[in-house]
């Protein structure tokens, strides 16, 4: 297996895995771009991705969209696990990682190989932040996701917990059990729990900035001006 690697050309790979190479994948063959949008529910991720897709397709770029819990391998069971809250934290963490890896290998990598721009509605960072606030070991979590590809850009849409709450109410008039971190037992009051949990996650994202390269984008602006900002950043990558 090792002998084959010697033939590798001298072209500098623009794609890299964060830690360990996936068996059977040559990172240098992945010519597309991977753009990640991170941010809490209500930070405007899906709206912004939709607009980016329109803009990119208008320019003639092919796009693929991925997100958490969308794998054909594990998404159905993960949804059921969420509704019943029956899996322990390490198990749930590994199940999410399975879901992620399935999409990485079956959607993200083939798309990048075909030269597509992949827009990821959240990536490993959300998964890591969720694991970390639940007390899983930092090194363990980093190792778990070291099989991921390093994105070409990560945009973190930042909004204060107070504003997030307002946006969530505008959208659903209700708070989600998991987005409120109710399983952590921070508070019996969902509103308080949401605020505390989102603060914890946001702190983890701030920590992760030291290790990973994020572009922080203030989400407290109009949809159009926010999208303009994202386009400006994206232009630097695709040209």
């Amino acid at each position: 297996m090792a002998a084959k690697r010697n033939i590798a050309s001298k072209v500098k790979p623009n794609k890299k895995f964060l830690g360990y190479d996936l068996p059977g994948v040559k990172a240098r063959e992945l010519t597309g771009k991977l753009i990640v949008i991170e941010g809490a529910d209500g930070s405007g991720r899906s709206t912004q991705i939709k607009l980016l897709v329109d803009w990119l397709e208008a320019k003639g770029y092919a796009t693929t969209q991925v997100g958490l819990k969308r794998s054909s391998l594990a998404s159905e069971e993960l949804e059921r696990a969420k509704n019943g809250n029956i899996l322990n934290r390490t198990t749930l963490s590994l199940f999410y990682a399975t879901d992620f890896a399935d999409q990485l290998e079956n959607i993200i990598i083939p798309s990048l190989r075909a030269g597509f721009i992949v827009l990821a509605d959240r990536y490993i960072y959300t998964l890591m932040a969720r694991d970390l606030v639940r007390g899983l070991d930092d090194k363990w979590v980093h190792n778990l996701y070291s099989i991921a590809l390093r994105p070409d850009a990560v945009f973190y849409l930042k909004l204060s917990p107070e504003k997030l709450i307002q946006r969530n109410f505008m959208k659903n008039h209700t708070l989600d059990y998991w987005e409120s971190g109710m399983d952590l037992g921070l508070s019996k009051d969902m509103f308080d729990s949401f605020v505390q949990y989102q603060k914890l996650l946001s702190d983890k994202f701030d920590d992760m900035r030291k290790t990973f390269d994020f572009t922080i984008v203030d989400s407290d602006q109009s949809v159009d001006s926010l999208n303009q900002e994202l386009r400006d950043h994206t232009k630097k990558i695709i040209n």
Partner: protein, 231 residues
């Protein structure tokens, strides 16, 4: 490989003890752990034999992955780690905290062997599983490859796709693939002996002789008096 720095349940202060058996298919390890269980039970000890009863959710995803053959080495590894974690958190840890002697037919070493043979990084897989403590005692039943192959191939000719390592593309013939795959697994196990202090038992000798050695070794490492049922 260097010796691992990971700790056993006893080193971590658990009152219970975990004993695992490892080895390739047909090494006779399941027979041995059954006899061990009988022996401990007859002494009136708190013993639990952990079978692989995955939760419905993880099982259903694993089944789909296998049936549709959509598993890669990485997702194969992760879905099995999920399954292992589920059993570990729901079953093993509570029993070990309650002071049981827990017997496991296969533990994380099975995953180390299987996943690295499939091409996953040995280092990544070891770290993936380091949420789980080491057994207090691990027996590695080792027989010459043709002996274990004969036991399986004579008794159960219906080999399953992943069990035979067909996903590795070693051979189009399922029996041939199984042989090659088992050979690689055996090598992977042998490499782990020093790293994890596996106790090798020559599985090519009479069953009762092997059992005698296993019981003797176990009694040396675990003070059985402390595990009486009515305590």
């Amino acid at each position: 490989m260097k010796k691992t720095k990971e700790k056993t349940f006893s080193q971590l202060g658990y009152p219970g003890r975990l004993v695992a058996v490892e080895g390739v298919d047909g090494s006779g390890k399941s027979t041995q752990i059954y006899l061990l269980k009988r022996w401990l039970e007859m002494q009136g000890l708190k013993v639990f034999f952990s079978e692989w009863n995955s939760s419905g959710l993880v099982k259903s995803a694993t089944r789909r992955g296998k049936q549709q053959k959509i598993l890669t080495p990485t997702t194969f590894s992760l879905i099995h780690a999920t399954d292992f974690a589920d059993r570990y958190e729901r079953q093993l840890v509570p029993l070990l905290k309650a002071g049981y002697i827990v017997l496991c037919d296969r533990y994380k070493f099975t995953a180390f062997a299987r996943d690295t043979v499939r091409g996953c990084s040995p280092d990544w897989v070891r770290k993936l599983y380091n949420f789980a403590a080491l057994p207090d005692l691990t027996f590695f039943f080792r027989a010459p490859l043709d002996v274990s192959l004969n036991r399986i191939l004579q008794g159960r000719p219906q080999l399953k796709y992943h069990e035979a390592g067909m996903d590795l593309g070693l051979s189009d013939n399922i029996e041939e693939s199984f042989k090659l795959f088992q050979g690689r697994l055996l090598k992977a196990y042998a490499k782990m002996k020093t790293e994890f202090g596996l106790i090798q038992i020559n599985a090519n000798q009479p069953i009762e002789k092997q059992q005698e050695m296993v019981r003797e070794r176990l009694a040396k490492v675990i003070d059985l008096k402390g595990y009486q049922l009515n305590q």
